[in-house]
């Protein structure tokens, strides 16, 4: 017997519906959409890990794109919802990465630890890896003062989307996205560097 299936069927709806409701401010729909996207990201990540050599690092961009394609193909996503999807996917990618960083090395679901990393290109500075937990914490703080710029960081950094795609997702101009990005980077850099006891994001000189 599958528990909750009947109750869940209506609530799950299809993702498009959820995303639309989310946009209209329905918190339950937002949560459900997020959990579905999270599940899908996680599932594909797990599957890829079974195919790949151990120690291989998945590329977030490819992952997010694949989830999108899968959902679109399964008919559960109207393409109109692409912009919302991008936002949700980036947020969930952030969650996955941060969760993973938190439980690094932990065995999950009986299999080997799933390793998901940012595209190698999006690591920290000077080849040093970035403290994701610190970034997450700093971003949460930044979110309170600059919510839109924080979204830009989520989309670009965690979702791997380009400036132009961020423009599409947020419905603001390219110039705004670039300004937000530069400001967010500077603010986060300063905030993270200020955590003297933890590893600074970069040490120059």
């Amino acid at each position: 017997m599958s528990s909750g299936q009947k109750a869940g069927a209506e609530a799950t709806g299809d993702l498009t519906l959820l995303l639309n409701r989310m946009q209209e401010g329905d918190p339950v729909a937002a949560e459900e959409a997020a959990s579905r996207v999270y599940g899908e990201l996680h599932r594909i990540a797990s599957r890829e890990m079974r195919r790949e050599r151990p120690g291989h690092t998945l590329q977030t961009t490819a992952l997010v794109n694949e989830v999108y394609l899968r959902l679109a193909a399964a008919g559960s996503l109207q393409i109109q919802s692409r912009a919302h999807f991008m936002a949700v996917a980036s947020q969930q990618m952030r969650r996955i990465l941060v969760d993973h960083a938190r439980s690094a090395g932990a065995q999950r679901r009986g299999g080997g630890a799933i390793q998901i990393g940012l595209d190698e290109a999006r690591a920290g500075v000077d080849g040093r890896s970035l403290d994701l937990l610190l970034l997450d914490e700093s971003l949460a703080e930044f979110e309170r003062i600059e919510p839109r710029a924080a979204r830009v960081v989520e989309l670009r950094y965690f979702g791997g989307y380009t400036d132009m795609e961020v423009v599409e997702a947020l419905g603001v101009s390219l110039a705004t996205v670039r300004r937000d990005w530069e400001f967010a980077r500077s603010w986060l850099f300063r905030r993270m560097q200020g955590q003297g006891d933890r590893e600074p994001p970069a040490s120059r000189g």
Partner: protein, 641 residues
């Protein structure tokens, strides 16, 4: 910090960044007007900005060198990789080095194969010596990453030029177009199709000499699974219909793309614009050709005829080569200069005069569904010849035989009851039930719905009220024999998941493979997203049904389920057998997976040679554009039964 102060800090930071570094401090001193807190904050942030380097950027610090080339800066990044500016130490000249991301999904033999292919393509493109073409100097490999070294051109690209001033002078536009056309025709003469003509690939050296970049490289990119899942996501704004439709291309595809660029240069707007991007893809393939004159009334009327041909849906409608197109354009434009307005605007809006609405069509599906679980196939291939002046939507080709779903629908068309909401329910086999919002257009008192064919796989659904006014139009797409219905435009589309599921199950039980596949995916997804293993057997059941019915992707999925023990007891022997069946029908993914089984000796004797062979086959299957006779599964055969 108070919100007001933060706002001020943010504003000054943004403004300071626009200024050269040396001017920032003096600027702040004046602008802060003695507010020490604001000034301090902004200064700190600017310092952080200077120190942050590539922090969080899609880039770790620049590599020191790639091959023998010493990297001096980054020029840009695109779908396929990053382009660096570099110095060739042997000759001391500047070069551009494009590092290509092949590693994303490639593994072992597959990577080697893709690399070999890349080099082969680069060599072909490298044989193009023309003043209007960026010369490829060298190909090589740095670590895992192949790279291409090219002639360095200062730029700016036409993309940058357009970003700065959307509409450029006619004479200048013509000059750029002539040079681009000459370069393209030259390459075409050598058998190389560019495939990715867009403003970003047209470089203006010192603002004058035009150089076309990235010849043939798009082909390499499209040969990767990675690009299929990822990069095709980019906007298809400049793609030709056949390219959007993943059909074979020739040089006339470049002519189409050049016409798109020309349209943009002359009007400041792109000819095909739609949201979302899949609607855009559909518009390119099926939509009417827009009037350039409507976008820019200063253009002569005769310009529309040129674009009508240049943006022809079928390659045969277009100009024979790029120069011919640009010459025709020039003739039309110079006519304007001399004051004459010859010619008449062709009926670019299509025969009916009604604004057309677009749906997500098969074309889009071809772009999107590449490596996904849901199969896609057209019922018929496109008609061989279409009258040149007929917009593609008016193709009168009637599918033969008429899909049973449509026949049934025509026999018993739904009626629209008077009332607040007109509901059209698709009883036969659709995946979606759709409410038609009566508030769009004229409010219907009562009406009827008609469906008429509009292309090989499309039907136009027209809802008419009692007064005879069309209040809703939709396109119905027939995929295999299942019907998907979409409404586009301002109408509110509401889907009813539970009912759709019910309809799908009915269709599935009646033997529709498409419905089976959709169901399999739905249950699989549910099981995974809720971690509810009870859903998997149902997913497996539907995929298996589809596989039994001869569906290639169903076979592949059954293989995956057996291999991974999803919804069924793990059985490597069965997995290998199902993969084999799918491979025989041309499934790239199945070949890839089966290769893995040979490599590990699971379900089949370990055989590295076979593994390699299958991986190569997977790449080939994924890269070749399926020709109509290769693509069909057994569906068409079964349909006639």
């Amino acid at each position: 910090m108070s919100p007001e102060i933060h706002q001020r800090v943010r504003q000054l930071f943004d403004e300071a960044l626009l200024r050269p570094e040396a001017e920032r401090a003096p600027f702040l001193q004046t602008a802060c007007a003695g507010n020490a807190e604001v000034c301090g904050q902004v200064t700190q942030l600017l310092e952080a900005h200077a120190e942050a380097g590539h922090f969080l950027e899609s880039e770790r610090a620049l590599p020191q060198r790639v091959g023998r080339y010493m990297i001096t800066g980054e020029l840009g990044r695109g779908a396929m990789g990053i382009v660096y500016k570099a110095i060739d130490p042997l000759i001391g000249r500047d070069v551009a080095v494009k590092v290509i991301r092949l590693q994303a999904l490639a593994d072992g033999g597959e990577a080697a194969f893709l690399r070999e292919r890349l080099f082969r393509e680069a060599r072909a493109a490298g044989g193009l010596f023309h003043p209007g073409i960026i010369v490829i100097l060298d190909v090589g490999q740095e670590g895992d990453l192949p790279f291409i070294a090219m002639e360095y051109v200062e730029g700016p690209s036409l993309f940058q030029v357009l970003a700065a001033r959307p509409k450029i002078d006619c004479g200048e536009a013509l000059k750029i177009l002539h040079k681009t056309a000459a370069a393209l025709d030259f390459a075409h003469g050598k058998g190389v199709v560019h495939r990715d003509i867009k403003p970003a690939n047209i470089l203006l050296e010192n603002g004058v000499i035009v150089k076309v970049a990235d010849f043939g490289i798009a082909k390499i990119a499209s040969s990767q699974r990675y690009t299929k899942t990822g990069m095709r996501m980019g906007t298809p704004s400049y793609m030709s219909p056949e390219q959007v439709d993943a059909k074979p291309l020739d040089e006339r595809s470049d002519q189409f793309s050049l016409a798109v660029v020309a349209y943009e240069l002359l009007t400041g707007a792109q000819p095909f614009r739609a949201e979302p991007f899949t609607a855009l893809a559909h518009m390119i393939v099926y939509g009417p050709r827009p009037s350039a004159r409507a976008a820019n009334p200063e253009l002569p009327a005769s310009i529309d005829q040129v674009f009508y041909r240049g943006l022809g849906k079928l390659p045969g409608e277009r100009y024979a080569n790029c120069r011919e197109f640009v010459t025709a354009l020039e003739r039309a434009l110079t006519g304007q200069v001399s004051g004459g307005e010859a010619g008449e605007t062709p009926a670019v809006r299509g025969r009916t005069g009604r604004p057309s609405r677009y749906i997500l069509g098969g074309a889009v599906a071809a772009v999107l569904l590449v490596s996904t679980g849901v199969g896609y196939k057209r019922l018929n291939s496109a008609p061989a010849a279409v009258p040149t002046a007929t917009p593609a939507l008016d193709r009168q080709t009637v599918p033969s035989p008429l899909p049973p779903v449509i026949a049934q629908f025509l026999a018993d068309p739904p009626t629209i009851e008077p009332g607040a909401e007109a509901i059209l329910s698709w009883k036969v086999s659709g995946a979606t039930k759709v409410d038609i919002d009566p508030n769009i257009g004229k409010k219907p008192t009562a009406g009827h719905v008609q469906v008429k064919p509009s292309g090989p796989t499309y039907y136009v659904l027209t809802a008419t009220n009692a007064a005879g006014t069309v209040f809703q139009e939709a396109f119905v797409e027939v995929r295999r024999s299942a019907v998907s219905l979409y409404l586009e435009g301002k109408s509110k589309l509401r889907t009813h998941f539970a009912e759709a599921l019910d309809l799908l199950r009915q269709a599935g039980e009646l033997g529709e493979t498409h419905a089976m596949m959709v169901l399999g995916n739905i249950y699989w997804e549910r099981g995974e997203s809720r971690d509810d293993k009870d859903e998997f057997p149902e997913a497996f059941r539907w995929f298996h049904k589809a596989a039994d019915a001869g569906d290639r992707d169903g076979m592949r999925n059954v293989g995956v389920f057996y291999e991974m023990g999803i919804g069924v007891r793990e059985n490597e022997l069965f997995a290998a057998q199902w993969y084999r069946k799918a491979v025989d029908l041309g499934s790239s993914d199945a070949a890839y997976n089966l290769g893995g089984m040979y490599e590990a000796g699971r379900g089949v004797p370990r055989d590295l040679g076979k593994a390699h062979e299958l991986r190569q086959l997977a790449v080939e299957l994924a890269t070749q554009t399926p020709s109509p006779d290769r693509r069909p599964l057994s569906r068409s055969r079964r349909q006639t039964n």
